[in-house]
C-alpha cells in the first residue's frame, strides 16, 4: 500500500476491485479481498460455561533439550469455554500443547479429563476420548502434505469405522466424507484427490479444521490457528472456534496474536518461562498488563504496582 499507486484486488480468479492507493484504507481492501465486511474483533455471545472438562494440576514437561519447559502449571477448562494461552513464543506453550495431546511425556503432575486421569495416555487413547488437536505448525504436524485431501480428512480416525473395517480402508466412505467436508468447509479447489500440500495455507487449515471438527471433539487444543493466513481465512477460523464453543466444547487456544486471544477467550492465562503469570478475563485486562505478564511479571505484582502508582487507590476499570 505504501509503494503502490493503484491496487487491483483479485478473488476467485476475478478482479473484484481497482482503487487508487491514496483513496483507500486497510479495512476497505480487506473487504474487497474477502468479499464481505471483515469483523476484526469477533463478537462472541455471552455463554455460561458447563461443568469442568479438563483439569491440569502441577504439570511438569521437559523440552527437546531435556530442560523443564512447563514448570508446575495448573488450570481448569469448562465445557463451552475458551481458555486462551498468551505468551511470547518459546515459553513452554508448545510443550504444554504437546503434553495435553499425548505427543510429549508428562514428567510430573496430573491431567484429568472428564474425571479420568489421562496423564499417561497415548495420542491414540486421547483421540479415542474425543480430544482434538489443531497443531501450531500445520505443515509439519497437522497433515501429510503428499496425501490427498480425502486421506488427510480422516487422519486420526483412519483406523476406525466407518473409514476402515477389519484393517481395510473403505474408500467409498472416505471419499464421501471428503466430499461432504470440502463442501461444508468450503475448501478450494473442491477436489478430494488433490494433495493437501498443493493447497493454499488457508485451505490447508480448512482441511485441518474440517477434520478436527468432524471428529466431534469434547475438548480441543488449538495452537496458532491463524498463523500465516490471509484475513478471510482468519475470520473463518475464528468463526469455527466460536462454533466449537457454542457446541459446548472445551477449548484451549494458544496464540501469539494478542488480539486473537483477547477476542476469542473467556479466560486468559499468560505463560512465561513455563509458569503461569496470571489468569485474567479478556475484558478486565489491558494490553499493557498482558505485555507485562508476558515479560515475566506476575499479575498480583502488576496490580500492586498499579495500586502504589495511584497512591493506594484501586483503579477503576
Amino acid at each position: 500500500m505504501e509503494i503502490s499507486d493503484n491496487i487491483t484486488v483479485m478473488r476467485l480468479g476475478k478482479v473484484t476491485g481497482n482503487v487508487a492507493a491514496k483513496n483507500t484504507n486497510a479495512r476497505e481492501l480487506a473487504n474487497m479481498m474477502v468479499g464481505r465486511e471483515v469483523v476484526l474483533r469477533v463478537e462472541k455471545s455471552a455463554k455460561k460455561p458447563g461443568k469442568v472438562a479438563v483439569e491440569v494440576d502441577n504439570l511438569w514437561v521437559k523440552d527437546n533439550r531435556n530442560l523443564d519447559a512447563v514448570r508446575g502449571i495448573s488450570f481448569k477448562i469448562r465445557k463451552g469455554e475458551v481458555l486462551g494461552v498468551a505468551g511470547v513464543a518459546g515459553n513452554g506453550q508448545t510443550e504444554l500443547v504437546e503434553a495435553l495431546t499425548g505427543l510429549r511425556k508428562i514428567e510430573k503432575g496430573k491431567y484429568i479429563y472428564n474425571g479420568e486421569d489421562v496423564t499417561k495416555k497415548t495420542v491414540r487413547e486421547l483421540r479415542e476420548r474425543n480430544i482434538g488437536h489443531i497443531p501450531e505448525d500445520r505443515y509439519k504436524y497437522a497433515m501429510v502434505k503428499e496425501y490427498p485431501n480425502y486421506y488427510n480428512l480422516i487422519l486420526g480416525k483412519h483406523y476406525k469405522e466407518p473409514f476402515a473395517k477389519n484393517g481395510f480402508l473403505n474408500h467409498k466412505v472416505i471419499n464421501k466424507n471428503a466430499e461432504i467436508l470440502i463442501k461444508r468447509f468450503d475448501v478450494r479447489p473442491p477436489d478430494g484427490t488433490i494433495p493437501t500440500g498443493n493447497l493454499s495455507g488457508g485451505n490447508q487449515q480448512k482441511v485441518v479444521i474440517a477434520r478436527e471438527v468432524s471428529f466431534n471433539p469434547e475438548f480441543i487444543v488449538i495452537a496458532q490457528p491463524t498463523r500465516g493466513l490471509d484475513v478471510g481465512a482468519i475470520e473463518y477460523v475464528h468463526k469455527e472456534i466460536l462454533n466449537l464453543r457454542e457446541k459446548d466444547v472445551a477449548v484451549l487456544l494458544v496464540s501469539m496474536e494478542l488480539e486473537e486471544v483477547l477476542s476469542l477467550s473467556d479466560r486468559i492465562i499468560v505463560m512465561y518461562e513455563g509458569e503461569i503469570m496470571g489468569e485474567v478475563k479478556p475484558d478486565e485486562v489491558t494490553i499493557e498488563e498482558l505485555g507485562l505478564m508476558m515479560a515475566g511479571h506476575r499479575i498480583e505484582d502488576i496490580k500492586l504496582e498499579e495500586k502504589l502508582a495511584h497512591g493506594g487507590d484501586p483503579i477503576e476499570k
Binding site: V123, A164, L169, H171
Partner: protein, 353 residues
C-alpha cells in the same frame, strides 16, 4: 502448465528414456574398446530372451530380485532405509533350510507353506532386530542393518562349514526334503523356470494391497511421508517402525526361502550374491511401487542374463554394471530426463531439430 503429457505417461516414459540413454552411453564405451555395440546388444538381447532356456534363466533371476526390491521399496515407503535385505535374505534361507531339512515325512501341502513361513519369519526376525533397536534406543537402521548383513554372512559361513556341513567340496548344507521343494514350472535342459516367480508376483500384489487398501498401509505411508503429522494423527511411530522392518525383512526372507525351495534346495557360502543390494536399485527404478518393482526386477534380470551371453561377443560383462548405474543415475536425475523428453515432445523442439 508445464506439460501436455499426462503424469502416468511420464512415469513410464522417464524410465524408458533412461534405459535408452544408458544403453547409448554404454554403447559409446563399447565402441571405445573397439567392439561393435550393436552386435553386442544383439547378443545380449538374444541371451536374455532368445530362447526358452534364456527366458527361464532370466525369470529365475527375476524371482528373488522382485522380492528384495519389494523389501527395500516397502521400507522406503515408510521412510526406512533397509540396507539389510542382503542379510535378511540369508537368514530367510538359513531358516528355510533348517526347517526344510526336517520335513522328510510331511506332505508337501504342509511342508511347502511351513518352509516358506520359516524363511519369512527368519527374515522378519533379522530385520526386527534393527527395527526394535531403532524404536527403543533410536539406533539408526542404516548402521544396524549393515552390521546385521555382515553378521548374517559370517553366520551362513559358519552354518555351512559347521553344524550343517555336508559332503566335500563347497561348504554347503544337505538338500532340503523333497516335499519342501517347490517344483519347477518348466525345465529346459539344466535351466528351470522356478514356480517361485508366482510367489514373487503374488507378494508384489499383496504388498500393493497392503499399501493402498489397508489402514496399515495408510499408517506406514503417513509415517514415511511425515512422521510428525503421523504421530499427531494417533499413529504410533515405534510400532510402525518395527512393523515396517518386520514386513520388509519378511519379504527379503521370502526371497531367501524361494532361492532355497525353488532353485538351490540348500544353502552354501556367499549365498546371496548381492541380491539384497540389487534390491535397492530395483526399488529405486520401480519408484517404490510394487508393480513398478516387478518391471524393474525384470529389467535388471534381463540385463544380467543378457550380459552373460554378451561375453560371447567378447564384451566384458562389467558394462552391465555401468549400464545399471547410469539408468539409476538418470532415475535419480529424473528432472533432467523430463526436461529432455519435454523438449523433444513439444512441437517447437521437434521443429528446431
Amino acid at each position: 502448465m508445464k506439460n501436455k503429457l499426462s503424469k502416468n505417461a511420464m512415469n513410464i516414459l522417464v524410465p524408458v528414456t533412461s534405459v535408452i540413454i544408458a544403453l547409448f552411453i554404454a554403447g559409446i564405451v563399447i565402441l571405445l574398446i573397439g567392439k561393435n555395440p550393436l552386435s553386442a546388444y544383439w547378443v545380449m538381447l538374444k541371451g536374455a530372451f532368445g530362447n526358452k532356456a534364456a527366458l527361464a534363466a532370466n525369470i529365475s533371476k527375476m524371482m528373488s530380485l522382485v522380492l528384495t526390491g519389494l523389501a527395500v521399496g516397502f521400507g522406503f515407503r515408510a521412510g526406512i532405509f533397509n540396507i539389510g535385505a542382503e542379510g535378511q535374505l540369508m537368514m530367510g534361507a538359513i531358516f528355510s533350510t533348517i526347517v526344510g531339512l526336517n520335513l522328510g515325512g510331511v506332505s508337501p501341502v504342509f511342508a511347502i507353506p511351513i518352509t516358506m513361513l520359516a524363511g519369512i519369519l527368519g527374515g522378519a526376525f533379522w530385520a526386527s532386530i534393527a527395527g526394535y533397536l531403532k524404536a527403543t534406543t533410536g539406533a539408526h537402521e542404516v548402521i544396524t542393518t549393515i552390521m546385521l548383513n555382515w553378521i548374517a554372512v559370517y553366520l551362513t559361513n559358519y552354518f555351512v562349514a559347521g553344524p550343517l556341513a555336508v559332503g566335500q567340496g563347497v561348504p554347503k548344507s544337505p538338500e532340503i526334503a523333497q516335499s519342501a521343494q517347490l517344483p519347477p514350472l518348466m525345465t529346459v535342459q539344466a535351466t528351470t523356470l522356478p514356480s517361485g516367480i508366482i510367489v514373487s508376483i503374488i507378494a508384489a500384489i499383496l504388498v500393493y494391497i497392503l499399501l493402498e487398501k489397508t489402514t496399515t498401509g495408510y499408517e506406514l505411508k503417513a509415517v514415511g511421508f511425515n512422521p510428525y503429522a503421523a504421530e499427531a494423527g494417533a499413529i504410533s511411530l515405534s510400532k510402525n517402525i518395527v512393523l515396517t522392518m518386520a514386513i520388509s525383512g519378511a519379504l527379503a526372507g521370502l526371497a531367501g526361502s524361494m532361492e532355497v525351495m525353488a532353485i538351490h534346495h540348500r544353502i552354501f557360502g556367499d549365498f546371496s550374491g548381492g541380491k539384497g543390494f540389487d534390491g535397492i536399485s530395483i526399488a529405486l527404478i520401480g519408484q517404490n511401487n510394487p508393480i513398478g518393482i516387478i518391471f524393474a526386477a525384470f529389467l535388471i534380470s534381463s540385463l544380467r542374463t543378457g550380459s552373460n551371453a554378451m561375453q560371447f561377443a567378447k564384451v566384458p560383462d562389467d558394462i552391465v554394471t555401468i549400464i545399471q548405474g547410469i539408468i539409476i543415475f538418470l532415475v535419480a536425475a529424473d528432472r533432467i530426463v523430463r526436461t529432455f523428453i519435454l523438449k523433444f515432445s513439444s512441437p517447437k523442439g521437434g521443429e528446431s531439430k
